[in-house]
Amino acid sequence: MELKQDPQSTNGNRVTGEPGKAGGATVPPLRRIVIESETAPIHVSDAVLTPDAFQDPNAGVLIDQEAESVWVEQRMRTEALSIAYGGKVAVNEVSLEVNSGEVLALIGPSGCGKTTLLRSLNRLVELTPAAKRTGRIMLDGESVDDFDVTHLRSRVGMLFQQPNPFPMSIFDNVAYGLRERGSKRPRKKELEPIVVDALERAGLWDEVSNNLSHPALALSGGQQQRLCIARSLAVSPEVLLLDEPCSALDPISTAIIEETIVGLRSEVAIVIVTHNLQQASRVADRVAFMYLGDMVECGAAGQVFGAPAAERTKEYIGGGFG
């Protein structure tokens, strides 16, 4: 079974990271290896350590087949990004690329800094007064610090662990981001096509088309989360950050959300933080494994799950810790 890396991807199968001394624990030094995707296709059967959960050959392949038809382009980039809370380093010198046309999954044990990294991309981490950031974050070649923060956040949307629609109607929820942008409040008629489009893209339109004026909090948890996706999409973001978006949902809702995520990646760059490795393998094109603030490994999903280069990744994927 061949897992072909998309030739457009500039980030390829890359393993970065320095020999770690994370959390005082001695970990074996990492080999720095670069696998060129065209020249070195990875065979799942060759994987050194393949947990049972990832032996379903369809998961990776399906996505990679689709990926060939998707235009991959860099949207965001972090350069030696470090974030500390007080004296505690949560993210340590992480360099990462976020591309449109693919889903990037951040995995790692609790407290490894993946959510902090995600929240730094739309500068939400600044809401924590103790947080201190060094290093650069670029959006389309411009530093995010040069953006007006409200403008940045309308270009980099976010979805949270818990569905959190606002206590207003379904329509008003989706229109929320579009309203109050300038001095002139757009009329409902002007907003309607955008709202309908966003709900369609989030896969919710069929279920709510007849009751747009109903309160959003009366929807089911899965519908609420898709409404939150629609709410983010309505402001046409270039990047969508998902912070464990299915952790509060049942398996059926999770499957629908995952389908929505995979469907969206051709238009929006998606970064998803997840604890669920199977979910990461189902939706992600590229996977970054973090451990105690370090970016241990970042590469194509098939490579990270099939043939992880770093010992720590192997242990995590194999259930060694976490």
């Binding site: 739309n122 939400l124 809401l127 409200t150 403008h151 940045l152 956040r153 309308s154 949307g157 976010m158 949270f160 662990q161 818990q162 569905p163 959190n164 606002f166 206590p167 207003m168 929320y176 981001g177 309203r179 109050e180 942008r181 909090l217 948890g221 939150c228 709410r231 983010s232 402001v235 950050l241 509060a248």
Partner: protein, 329 residues
């Protein structure tokens, strides 16, 4: 209560029925309580029941006394100055006075209270100032209303406050009017509004705020469009509680609303607000054996009506609290 002797035979039988005895020991509930715990439980239970009995007694006694005397005519006629109880009229004006004063007080308390609560919850910087504001709210909440009333009179009798009440020919400012009493009454309701609004804002999860920020909204928009609508039922609960406090306060009325039993508007614009009057509380006080009127029957009737108003307000609090409260997971 299970006597301790019942348990040993039970546990002794079990191995016979079941070859593998369960590892869990038989649970003794009451018998493991110490005597002090039992006394404590008994006292707590008795205190609760006593409170119920007292509340029931108040309502039943006031209903018994009030219903005996209250009638439609009493509610719909104004008080008359007369030593004869049959000719001293009803208490329409005090009812209207109670309503008017409550509305004035709460209309001032809601915007101020909500603003303070929003600042404390959402901004609260510098923290020293926030602590000072919190202490200020606690001091206002703890100040007896008679002290507020005297303080209000001190303020509103200043000549530059002449706008708010009757000014005598010599230039002396009376200081007593619906508006001056309403301003001080708002201080009685303010802690209720602030407390309930803060509680409502604090129950909104942080990620709901962040969801608004993540859509490119600033703090002011988030507060106005997401947080305050979410806190609506909390604000309404606080306002209703505050209205109950205003309707039931006597000291501010006696000192700041003037001594007339009827509503007496001043001349000129806003005359009603600048005029004096009475409320059900001051009417009850004046007609009780301790007051000038000494018409206990009417005092009972008015007290019953006042109790009804406050009970209705409390019932509204319960209703509002249950309804329209956004629930996030």
């Amino acid at each position: 209560m299970t006597p301790p002797s019942v348990n040993p035979p039970l546990s002794a039988e079990e191995p016979a029925e079941n070859p593998q005895p369960p590892k869990r020991r038989p649970v003794k509930v009451e018998s493991s309580w110490s005597i002090m715990d039992r006394i404590g439980l008994g006292l707590a239970w008795a205190a609760g029941v006593t409170l119920c009995v007292i509340a029931g007694a108040i309502v039943i006694y006031m209903a018994y006394k009030g219903l005996q005397y209250v009638n439609w005519e009493m509610i719909t006629t104004a008080p008359e100055a007369s030593l004869d109880q049959s000719a001293s009229g009803g208490f329409l004006d005090p009812i209207l006075g109670t309503l008017l004063l409550t509305v004035i007080g709460i209309l001032i308390a809601i915007p101020v209270g909500v603003a303070v609560a929003v600042w404390l919850t959402e901004y609260g910087r510098p923290s020293g100032l926030a602590r000072a504001v919190e202490s200020g709210v606690e001091i206002v909440a703890g100040t007896p209303s008679i002290v507020l009333a005297i303080f209000g009179l001190l303020i509103f009798q200043q000549s530059f406050m002449g706008l708010f009440s009757f000014t005598a020919e010599g230039g002396a400012v009376f200081g007593r009017s619906f508006i001056t009493a309403g301003v001080m009454m708002s201080l009685v309701a303010l802690p209720m509004v602030i407390g309930a609004t803060r509680e409502a804002l604090n129950t909104i999860p942080r990620h709901v705020r962040e969801a608004s920020y993540a859509l490119g909204k600033d703090k002011a928009t988030t507060i106005r469009r997401v947080l305050l609508p979410s806190a609506r039922s909390g604000i309404a609960t606080g306002a209703t509680l505050g209205m109950g406090r205003i309707a039931g306060d006597t000291a501010i009325v006696v000192i700041l609303l003037g001594a007339s039993m009827t509503i007496t508007p001043e001349e000129g614009p806003g005359g009603l607000l600048r005029g004096t009057g009475s409320t059900l509380t001051s009417y009850v006080y004046n007609n009780s054996p301790a007051g000038e009127g000494n018409a206990p029957e009417k005092a009972y009737a008015a007290a019953f009506v006042l109790l009804l108003i406050v009970i209705v307000l409390n019932a509204l609090v319960g209703l509002i609290g249950r309804r329209n409260k956004p629930q996030w997971n």
